[in-house]
Symmetry: C2
DNA sequence: TATTTTAATCGAAACGTTTTAATTTATTTT
DNA sequence: AAAATAAATTAAAACGTTTCGATTAAAATA
């Protein structure tokens, strides 16, 4: 069969312990023997058998990545990218990321992902909004976990956050700088904290520039209490434009919505960006291919995945460390949908 | 620590061998003892440690799922759904599916997914178009694999195919039955066999109904030699409509393209389906939310994943079985984009 | 009844690592 | 030169299963 650590030891004329030591960069071993062993390993193309290693170390070498079914299979590609980022980062330590989904009706006794049921992961990353019961389960069973782009009010868990507030603030401020004066907000449910934060950034930017009066938000924002989608965006902006034709800028809670907003505006005979400027959030791939190309707040999805991995890894190997929150900063990227209104 | 097989054996007053036998449904064990052991297992919530089991059985309990980076992270959600289907099916046998991507510049010596490098999978599924060198590597190393929605000309590998030809044929025939007479095709690169087959179905349907003359295909099809995208669809149909304003139906190589076609037609001031009927292929989620809602050939993505899993599983446990091809049939689903042209 | 077959159970080896503690060898300190 | 310390190596135990072959008990056959 495949070559084992024994074969290496025999050929190198040492014990398997020594080979193991060089493999794991531990203990003392003479430079000379190390070199010899290393070269034999390469020569025989030896690869430690992971299941044996795992049995001995009592680690699984796996991390879980859980997300809501809808986010994976439906409209969002955001979290797939985050997954990829984790997967890339995990290569360094030979971790595998096991991806699975949970759905809305989650009962820990029944619907627990099997890598949790069978203790096949050392920790898990939770992407986006996931059932609270799942979080509680992990907490209770002391399984290391990190929340990605989500948070639980009043609880202090390990979290990777996007700088939603500043991203939104900056985007809206940009619209104002470009001469827009009637800027509306289109979004979905506020269950997701990210969206709430983006709304707050929107509001504060308006306020800073003295655009916010009593009835402003009521008149200029459209939020429906469902998951975001193109359809919501299209429907929302149409309704807004009908009652407020003076709208000349839209900040959307995310790109998916923004793409719908684009269609909505166009279907009402207005042009983008001349009549209405639009900025989204996330920078998902289709944003580059829309017409006009969508300006947006770009979120570094791969980096998020990478940070999630790193944080989770630290938690696994230092279980007593305090929970941390890391904030990933974002960039405003200007494409076509938000050009200057009035060139000076 | 966690309860082990020893704990179960001790409590049941039997040897660990016996416990193992009932766990694996092997050998003879008296009904009475089986019941007893089973109930103790449940009572103590015993879960066999996978790494130990894997070490003993010399199986990894993992399958790989490899797809081209672009397909995962960019516009396509098709293969994500297939993955989900595999993941669902894998639950039955406690297999884990390890997802990873490869990119265009693939060198087996460098870019081999690490689950292959470290022999951490019992077999792999290849989704869509993947580098030929990868396939050759698997073939050479006798690693069980199945191709999903792809094939290599002249080679007889395990394959899950979509019934592209008949799906396309049926879609186009439907357009004809509805009174359409100038039906064009919009697509991307023919590198992918599926697209080639869909084109063939398109052509044959036209021919069957006597619509195909010498210059037809040239005049009415638009194919660009790049990956399919919305942009291609939009660009393609605009160009076609300019030279052939009589076009009253479009069959698209897939939904992504079709969504672009929808925008393209609308941006030229025509209405769907009154002026032009559109049918796509794949039935990706956004097809349900476009306006008008996209008629399409629905491909059961979860089923594909499930079949891929089953075929791969069979290959792993019967390595000497002949390579098989399984064809997944498709359904024409009529939504709004293809209504009857002339009601009688 | 003695023998063979079948059913039920078990002891022990095997799977390929890591790790602890012991041992040997080399180096430094007194 | 002896004693103490540090460096290098190793034997053996441990990780938790499966499985092979042996053993015993019960049932079927002669």
């Amino acid at each position: 069969m495949a070559t084992t650590i024994k074969d290496i030891a025999r050929k190198a004329g040492v014990s398997i312990s020594t080979v193991s030591l060089v493999l794991n960069h531990k203990g003392y071993v003479a430079d000379e023997t190390r070199e010899k062993i290393l070269s034999i390993i390469k020569e025989m193309d030896y690869k430690p058998l992971h299941s044996a290693r795992k049995l001995a170390t009592q680690k699984t070498g796996n991390m879980g990545y859980i997300l809501w079914e809808g986010h994976f299979s439906e409209v969002e590609m955001f979290y797939s990218q985050v997954f990829l980022g984790m997967e890339y980062a995990a290569r360094k330590n030979d971790y595998y990321i096991l991806l699975t989904t949970v759905n809305d009706h989650f009962d820990p006794r029944q619907d627990l992902p099997r890598f949790l049921k069978y203790n096949d992961v050392d920790g898990v990353a939770l992407a986006g909004r996931v059932p609270l019961d799942l979080i509680h389960y992990l907490d209770k069973h002391a399984i290391p976990f990190v929340l990605v782009d989500y948070e639980v009010p009043g609880k202090n868990y390990n979290t990777i956050k996007i700088d939603n507030y500043n991203g939104a603030f900056r985007a809206v401020e940009f619209l104002i700088e470009q001469g827009r004066r009637h800027i509306s907000f289109v979004g979905g449910t506020f269950i997701h904290p990210s969206i709430k934060e983006r709304y707050r950034g929107y509001k504060d930017a308006l306020e800073k520039h003295g655009l916010l009066n009593n009835s402003y938000l009521e008149a200029y924002s459209y939020c429906e209490n469902v998951e975001t989608s193109r359809a919501i965006g299209e429907k929302g902006i149409k309704k807004l434009l009908k009652s407020r034709p003076e709208i000349d800028g839209v900040f959307c809670c995310n790109d998916t919505t923004a793409l719908g907003v684009l269609s909505g505006i166009q279907s009402m005979g207005k042009t983008i960006p001349e009549d209405v400027a639009v900025i989204g959030f996330d920078d998902i791939p289709p944003a580059e291919f829309s017409s006009p190309k969508l300006s947006t707040v770009s979120v570094p999805k791969l980096d998020i995945g990478k940070e999630a991995y790193k944080l989770l890894y630290e938690q696994i190997y230092n279980p007593n460390i305090m929970p941390q929150t890391r904030i990933i900063s974002v960039d405003l990227v200007i494409r076509e949908s938000s050009q200057t209104k009035n060139k000076p």
